[in-house]
Symmetry: C2
Subunit: 320 residues, 2 copies
């Protein structure tokens, strides 16, 4: 780490200039960003008939990431993945994002740039430009991202539309991120389900949707509370990656606890009414694995069939 | 401070619910927020022909504010004032804002709510609803705000349009915020110049505009660099509040240093070409005091006439 430039060497504007150069790589299609980094604010021009979607997330060192568990580039990628996953859960298409970075004066410029590169790697994959931000001094390193997206008016996937009797489905497989974290080394950042979310929005089939950032049961709890309903989940139906149970055993971890309780898988959890097709057809239409895992019920609270009893209260991630 | 509820008592969602209740006070005109706090993201519906404006700012305890120098309510108000001032400097009308709050588990709920109230006080004055955000644990208290606004397409006030020979003007009077801070007690939060900025945008007179957040000379430096020009400022023409020089003397402060160098006055600094009227007519049209303080010059750098020599390099506020 010795010898690298520090923020105190290049100053706030020096860092912003460097990040702006990196950000030039990522341009919005059709010139939707009419003014980006370098002014007081950024200008975006959403199309008529579209809703603008905005979501803000903060990641702090020692709370949401540790530099001894993942590289700065992975931290950066993961921070934008979390925000884009929120857009995906709304059925939105990304327009751009802002990032506020805070760090001590001794923080190395190359680490800051690696954080930016990680974000911009993913940003490039989804044509989601960095359109502004902020850099400031702080005792603890943190990234606060605000992502903006658009969705056809009244087509946004909300949390509050689930009705009793509806099926509960989830994209992809759950538990891999929790297992990596339990092992103390995070290398893989799940890709946000933006195209699946957009397809779900267009389909009109979903009554409610949320992304799995806090853990399946915690996020299902959020969805159920917003909708004023309860749910029953079959633990055995919750999809896991290939070889997951064996890998958990080797790591001394409980596979149910990780698949149902651990967060940051960034899969989509959604409910559908009787008009919607089954999981197989949904998977084809959304372009991603889809599994049916339970039912919405009138009675509040979560019931877990076949799982570990300790999850009955759906604790999830608590910040305080 | 003893006996008050702490974040560890109510948890993340308990705090968000409380802030959401406070936020209900502030609604956007015409129902532009189709979905606000409580979902993955907020939805805004800008009008056709309008550009969306987004700006992000972070304030950290010990860096941007100290609870022994100002009340939490003042900190909150000031944090949104800074963001709305950025919108004003673009000529934008506010649409809404998000806020990411970070604090230690021991942070008192009433202090967090006072921060929110301070923001929402000002938000209410400008019909700028809190549409989302984030609460997380951190060692240091911080607020990161993203404000969104709209401006008629191609009418945004940018930094990069100043041309040699143009006049440099400023709204209001400068130095009061710097004097308060030098005295160690901040009570007064300047009101962002949103209506003046919007009027300036409609007028088409301004070639460039920036808000004074870092200090007159520092921000003029930003504007000049973005425009590829220099400037000459008459220190004696820089407007100060009534009784400012005497108040500075009593406090042992240099009035020039505060009026030209101190930040957070949130006035607008702008340049106009020969077609624009004089300061008196501009003042009437913008509904605010306007003073002419200098000229844009071809030669890069800032020249200060009648002021203290030490400002020749326009230092302003450095974060690192």
């Amino acid at each position: 780490m010795a010898g690298g430039k520090r923020l105190s060497d290049v100053g706030e504007f020096g860092l912003i200039e460097r990040i702006a150069r990196l950000a030039e790589r990522v341009q919005a299609p059709g010139g939707r960003v009419s003014l980006g980094i370098g002014d007081d604010a950024a200008l975006l021009r959403p199309r008529p008939g579209q809703d603008l979607v905005v979501t803000t997330d903060a990641l702090f060192e020692g709370v949401h990431f540790r530099f001894d568990q993942e590289t700065p580039r992975t931290v950066g990628r993961r921070s934008l993945a979390a925000s884009l996953s929120d857009l995906a859960a709304m059925g939105a298409t990304p327009l751009g994002f802002t990032c506020a970075l805070a760090a001590p004066p001794s923080f190395e410029v190359r680490v800051a740039l690696a954080l930016a590169r990680g974000m911009l790697d993913l940003a490039g994959e989804f044509a989601c430009p960095l359109v502004g931000g902020n850099v400031t001094r702080a005792r603890q390193v943190s990234l606060t991202l605000t992502a903006l997206g658009s969705v056809a008016s009244s087509r946004a996937l909300r949390r509050d539309g689930a009705r009793p009797g509806e099926r509960i489905l989830v994209t992809g497989a759950l538990g891999a991120s929790g297992l990596e974290r339990a092992r103390g080394s995070v290398r893989r950042v799940p890709t946000p389900r933006l195209s699946a979310g957009a397809a779900l929005s267009r389909s009109g089939w979903a009554s409610a949707c949320i992304d799995i950032s806090d853990g399946l049961l915690a996020d299902l709890g959020h969805l159920c509370r917003a909708s004023g309903v309860g749910a029953r989940v079959e633990a055995g139906l919750v999809p896991r990656p290939a070889g997951f149970t064996a890998a958990c055993r080797r790591a001394g971890q409980d596979p149910d606890a990780l698949a149902l309780g651990a967060g940051e898988d960034y899969e989509l959890l959604f409910t559908v009414g009787p008009r919607a097709p089954g999981a197989r057809v949904l998977a084809r239409r959304l372009g991603v694995q889809v599994s049916e895992i339970g039912r919405v019920e009138r009675r509040r609270g979560l019931r877990l069939a076949g799982g570990v009893a300790c999850w009955a209260s759906a604790p999830g991630w608590r910040h305080f």
